[in-house]
Symmetry: C2
Subunit: 364 residues, 2 copies
């Protein structure tokens, strides 16, 4: 049997308890479907800082580069809030993205029929919502130089960050968006602030050029990032695939995920380039954070972590039918009325992390 | 009688027709209340480009610097979309902000009781919503150098923008936020991405320093900009005053304005420093844009423009009771059921721009 390799990075807060449940799902595939994974575990974030003085060791970084796919749960917590920039839990995540060259972050904002009422938006506005945000993840203001805080002669301080995008960085992420759109409703909306930022104007021009050269069959539109923030609230169903830069993608995808009312349900994939062997580096993680307030109490929703593994089955291992099994089991369990606290609704049955996981496994 | 001077800049699209209505309001104050304004008009945006080849002439810029307050309606339209960076309608607006040093942009997101149902959010989530976003307006990535698009030796192009903030730029806008909060619910939430941007970290540190030195009576919290984009959808009523930088302010204030379901109602004020004579430069404008699709058809909602003038009465002329008259007239007319198309609801009476203005004037 082919050996498929996975690195699990549980991280902080509720990370370890949702990762524990996904291990059971991984075992299920070996036991019931003969699909085996070679699984290793490592530290990232605050727990790595506590153990090694750094949010990601070189050794773990090397293992992340060697495996077929990384599953990460969540990093961060108030305990590490006052560390310096390079020691913070987030720095471990940013290093993984950068060194694995995960330039395309796919963040679906999907409303589950059973959870329409969990949204703060009116049911008509969000029922059936299914947006895919493709966020550039290794460039822009997150990584541009010069950057830093310096002392000025007048006694003040100055903070600087730099947004930089080159042609190929824009093309490769736009390509992912166009390819995805072809498998969905065939529409891409590209978002920037090209009316005030030259880097945004270049973004728009390069997306237009690529579209013209290779993707004329896909419907392309452009929307300023402020207008997109409005339209996500006004009429989110107008969107299919949105492609945008690292910073706007951070904000717009969080806004979009909250439209669903259940970010405890949403997975994400971060993908690199496809190499000569047809392989691409990839990291899968829930959209939600480490939720330190409920950590260790068996209260967290494990579904986003499960669906992140389903994305791994699809994107890293081309196991489409196997991914369907897991996703369908999640939908079925939701329709029986089981809910973790974050998606609890009147008349439903409130269950723990482990009971939710038990039920999904039984359903599989 | 004191002469109060106003420069009206109708701009493009629906700008001229809403400005025409506000002139009637200005006349009303002279006729009925003996409050006279010396009114001049000028061009900004696409109309200025058509007439003079630039979106703002030096002469109009000089007049804007000389008057007590500027009222601007809206700029832009598809006709000018393909002009170079410095010729575009937006460039006129950015020049006004920069040369008048309007560093604090006040954008209220307020839900009118009569219009609760116009929101795409559930009534319970937005009823009574009253947020004030204070956006830094003359710094950050909108104006930082270096910037531009350049050709690279490898045949690609590179787009660059720079985010820069100095201590005093952060302090002066945070001061406006703290002062405002004292007159409201006494809470300020400062928003940045200090977890990935040093300029955001400096922002947070400087807001904390100013709070400690001068505003300990105000409740201060901090929220990452992505989390703020989420919380505005999840639970917007948790906010009172939000203070943030130019770019995040652009996006978050647009998102917040759309929560109200009626951006045709929302005014804004952009304020400079108070000088030795107690005067401050100021520009007032609706949050909505130039809406070229309905321009010239007497369909636009004039209320945001009226309420922008009410903000001018308050902030530039200290005429609080006079501002109350105008604001109250707007609320009264809404409660009689008159609606322009943008805020139309079942069972209400749809009226034109001029009929809406007539009714508000009659009510005054
Ligand atoms: C944790 C943080 C560095 C990160 C980001 O800003 O990219 C997070 O908000 C995300 O969206 O994955
Ligand atoms: C027109 C544009 C330059 C402007 C901005 O980005 O600041 C607008 O979106 C605003 O919010 O006033």
């Amino acid at each position: 049997s082919t050996k498929r390799s996975l690195l699990l990075l549980p991280g902080d807060g509720i990370g370890p308890e949702v990762m524990r449940q996904v291990r059971r799902v991984i075992d299920w595939y070996a036991r019931k479907r003969g699909i085996e994974f070679q699984v290793e575990e490592g530290l990232v974030g605050g727990c790595s800082y506590d153990a090694h003085g750094t949010p990601l060791t070189d050794e773990t970084m090397a293992r992340a580069l060697a495996v077929d796919a990384v599953l990460l749960a969540a990093v961060g917590g108030p305990k590490w809030d006052n560390l310096g920039f390079d020691k913070r839990p987030e720095a471990g995540l940013l290093r993984l993205r950068k060194e694995m060259e995960l330039f395309a972050n796919l963040r679906p904002a999907k409303v589950f029929d059973a959870l329409v009422d969990a949204s703060t938006l009116k049911p008509d506005v969000v029922r059936g919502l299914d947006i895919m945000i493709v966020r550039e993840l290794t460039g822009g203001i997150y990584f541009g130089e010069p950057r830093g805080i310096s002392d000025l002669p007048n006694g003040e301080r100055r903070g600087i960050n730099t947004q930089v995008y080159d042609t190929h960085e824009i093309h490769r992420v736009a390509r992912v968006a166009f390819e995805l759109a072809r498998k969905r409703s065939n529409k891409v909306c590209s978002s920037e602030k090209g009316n005030v930022m030259e880097s945004g104007l270049l973004w728009r021009q390069e997306v237009i050029a690529l579209h013209k050269a290779e993707y004329q069959d896909v419907e392309l539109s452009h929307m300023l990032a402020d207008a997109a923030a409005m339209q996500l609230v006004r009429n989110p169903k107008q969107f299919d695939v949105i492609v945008t830069d690292n910073l706007f993608g951070d904000i717009l995808s969080d806004e979009a995920s909250m439209l669903t009312g259940s970010i405890g349900m949403l997975p994400s994939a971060s993908l690199g380039a496809t190499d000569a062997d047809g392989k691409r580096k990839a990291l899968y993680e829930p959209v939600h954070g480490s939720a330190p307030d409920i950590a260790g109490r068996d209260l967290a929703n494990p579904i986003a972590m499960f669906l992140s593994f389903a994305m791994a089955l699809r994107w890293s291992f081309d196991l489409q039918a196997e991914a369907d099994i897991l996703e369908q089991a999640v939908e079925n369990v939701l329709s029986t009325g089981l809910r973790t606290g974050d998606i609890m609704q009147p008349g439903m049955a409130r269950v723990s992390t482990s009971v939710m996981a038990d039920s999904i496994l039984r359903e599989m």
